[in-house]
């Protein structure tokens, strides 16, 4: 109570409209005939489908396994059969389809056997892997896989912050959850504290939720603290709440873990309690349905529930509704297709009416008033980032710390010229991301191309060397080859030699068949020649001797 708060700069006070949906207790959705479970509900790689069309599944059965490090599992929300594994409409601003598992409920709602986890004695890594396989992801909006956040890693975590600020207008799902299930949230926080090995646990709740504050204060043990923070949008932003409670500023491009602080949403703590104490995967979440509907309120909704069915459970949209927003009015996006299902990231379905959600007035030129910079809770200069984003000068936009923008919408909210600043920042961010992706791909292609050229060159050299070696071997090491070869060669050589000798032996003479007189003459000549040769030889033999004996 006596904790000193550190107010962040900026922020706005939009109308809360919390009372529209926070009066009634959380209602359970009836079992539906069909569920559509997207395999990409979290940040990171989509889950790998484990089932095929026609297979029977039970409630809580894993239908998608975590693929890669930043990923988590998906589970069947009820028992039934898999109708299809195919791309379907998902709640995404693009309206694009994504891979989903469509499950036809059999009405039995039969569950797989689940085992509570012995979290105090389980090895930390084993506990995290179980949490990953139970599909836990942050319910605060970023849907980051929880098992990664529960790994303290190299950085020692000293403080755990449970985020129950719920600063976005209209949304009351965390409010109702804290009022009704405070004890379970505290048990979840205990598990988080155990996994992270941190001493201090703080609950940050905006002071426009006195019932939730009271309920949690009654539930927490003495070593946890429930802090009431002033109502100011966006105090529920992770970095803003961290600063508010501890006075520590998250560095540019960093995370709160760099400061030794980990932040979880209270809804995640509740899901962690269910996962660990009941062994139940993340099968449902509380979703606020509010705005221009007959019976606004909060619904315990199974993941995969088509939004049209959720809307029907709240009595349907009232006449004159002009579309729906997923999330709140500050950070949410327009729903393009009502068949899209509830995912782990959907915290609110807000039905618009023309009175409270008039069409955005036409934008006027920026008048350099600086209102956006004063409202920015991240201490940025939105007008600078806007000019450069609009001019597609992304490098300059980035140099104004575009990526520290949390897209809270305060700048667009206060802009007297009604410029949709956040739309420009989102545009610039996704363009920069694409460039970085292209750059990575180009670098990979360059490396592979250079390697191929190097490989071809090497192969050419190797081939030339091989030929040179072979020629040398043929020349030099013929007989050094194996004895069999040598023997054969010797035989061949011998045969050749014999043939040569034989040839010499039968040197043909043109003196065959000559008359007797001619033969006699030849014989005489031969005899004379022989005589002459012997004479010459004896001369040649004696001469050198006399020459040598000469003094």
């Amino acid at each position: 109570m006596s904790r000193i708060l550190f107010p962040f700069n900026g922020g706005v006070h939009p109308d809360g409209h919390k009372e529209a949906s926070n009066a009634a207790p959380i209602r359970a959705m009836p079992l539906l005939p069909r569920y559509v479970v997207p395999l990409r509900q979290h940040i990171g790689a989509p889950a790998r489908p484990l089932v095929r069309a026609g297979e029977r599944v039970a409630r809580g059965q894993m239908i998608g396994a975590a693929e890669g490090y930043v990923s988590t599992a998906a589970h069947a929300p009820t028992s039934g059969s898999v109708l299809a594994v195919q791309p379907r409409a998902v709640p995404h601003p693009s309206g694009l389809f994504d891979l989903c598992v469509v499950i036809e409920a059999d009405g039995e709602d039969r569950a797989v056997e689940s085992q509570p986890l012995d979290w105090r004695n389980l090895d930390a890594s084993a506990l995290r892997n179980r949490i990953r396989d139970l599909g836990l992801a942050g319910l605060g909006g970023a849907v980051f896989p929880s098992y990664i956040k529960l790994n303290p890693g190299a950085q020692a975590i000293h403080t755990l912050i449970l985020n129950g600020a719920e600063c976005e207008p209209w949304i009351t799902c965390d409010d109702r959850l804290m009022r009704e299930r405070a004890a379970e949230i505290v048990l979840g926080a205990e598990i988080m504290r155990h996994a992270l090995g941190c001493a201090s646990v703080l609950f940050g709740i905006e002071d426009n939720k006195p019932e939730a504050l009271a309920a949690l204060r009654a539930a927490v043990p003495a070593d946890m603290e429930v802090v009431s923070v002033p109502t100011l949008y966006p105090s529920g932003g992770g970095k803003q709440l961290t600063y508010l409670l501890t006075g520590l500023e998250t560095p540019t491009g960093g995370r709160s873990t760099d400061l030794g602080i980990q932040v979880f949403n209270v809804g995640t703590a509740y899901s962690l309690y269910r996962a660990v104490y009941l062994g139940e995967p993340m099968l449902s979440r509380v979703v606020t349905v509010t705005g221009h509907v007959a019976a606004p309120g909060n619904f315990e909704t199974r993941i995969g529930t088509p939004l049209a069915d959720l809307l029907a459970a709240a009595g349907g949209a009232l006449p004159g509704a002009v579309g729906e927003i997923i999330g709140g009015p500050m950070m949410g996006f327009d729903l393009l297709d009502r068949v899209a299902p509830v995912t782990k990231s959907v915290n609110c379905l807000l039905v618009k009416d023309p009175r409270l959600f008039p069409a955005r007035p036409a934008a006027l030129p920026c008048i350099r008033c600086g209102a956006c910079a004063r409202a920015c809770p991240a201490d940025l200069q939105p007008f600078e980032m806007y000019w450069y984003s609009r001019a597609k000068d992304f490098g300059k936009a980035q140099s104004y710390d575009l990526f520290d923008c949390i897209e809270c919408g305060c700048c667009a909210y206060v802009c007297p010229s009604h410029i949709p600043l956040v739309d420009f920042f989102r545009y610039a961010k996704s363009e920069i991301w694409e460039r970085e992706r292209d750059k990575r791909e180009a670098d990979q292609a360059r490396r592979r191309h250079e390697f191929k050229e190097f490989r071809l060159e090497r192969e050419k050299k190797e081939k030339a060397e091989k030929f040179a070696k072979a020629a040398e071997k043929q020349k030099a090491g013929a007989e050094a080859a194996d004895p069999e070869e040598a023997r054969k060669k010797a035989i061949l050589q011998a045969a050749l030699e014999r043939a040569r000798l034989a040839k010499e032996g039968v040197t043909p003479k043109n003196t065959d068949n000559l008359p007797a007189a001619v033969e006699k003459e030849i014989a005489e000549i031969d005899a004379r020649r022989a005589q002459a040769e012997t004479r010459a030889e004896t001369r040649a033999e004696t001469r050198p001797e006399s020459g040598e004996s000469r003094p």
Binding site: H92, Y427, A442, K452
Partner: protein
Amino acid sequence: MITAILVMAGIGLVLGGVLGWASIRYRVEDDPLVEKIDAILPQTQCGQCGFPGCKPYAEAIAKGEADINQCPPGGNEGVKRLAELLGVEPKPLGAGMEPKPKAVAVIDENTCIGCTLCIQACPVDAIVGAAKQMHSIIAEQCTGCELCLPPCPVDCISMRVIREDVATWKWRYPVHMMKRAA
């Protein structure tokens, strides 16, 4: 007066010597401009510019032998960045060089006869296979250069355009009405 001239001449000689020594000692071997140009090029190695790869094209641009608008995969955006780097006016892509949407090659594995001709043609070794064995393309490493299409004797390779999905989707440039100022 003489002293001043001598001192100035001496300083000049010493500094000139230092600069001369530094220019030899710290000589940059590669042409840094080629590297900079090559960094902008998309590395598809497709040869549509008329050079056998991105690096040769970069070298030709650096020497002034090639124009900056010969790279269709880089698109007008690439031409713009080259123009910025080289300090020249950007120009539209050359005639008949419309940028195509990003695509990857796909082998119809039932038709492939395993001739290895595409493997030899692939500039980034993105095709796996052996003689008389089925070939397959590693989609993540394919640059979409289309160089494997002509050598295939059975025409079993086709290009498949990469469609954007939820992960690669981009926020569009905000279209917002500007009120007419008076």
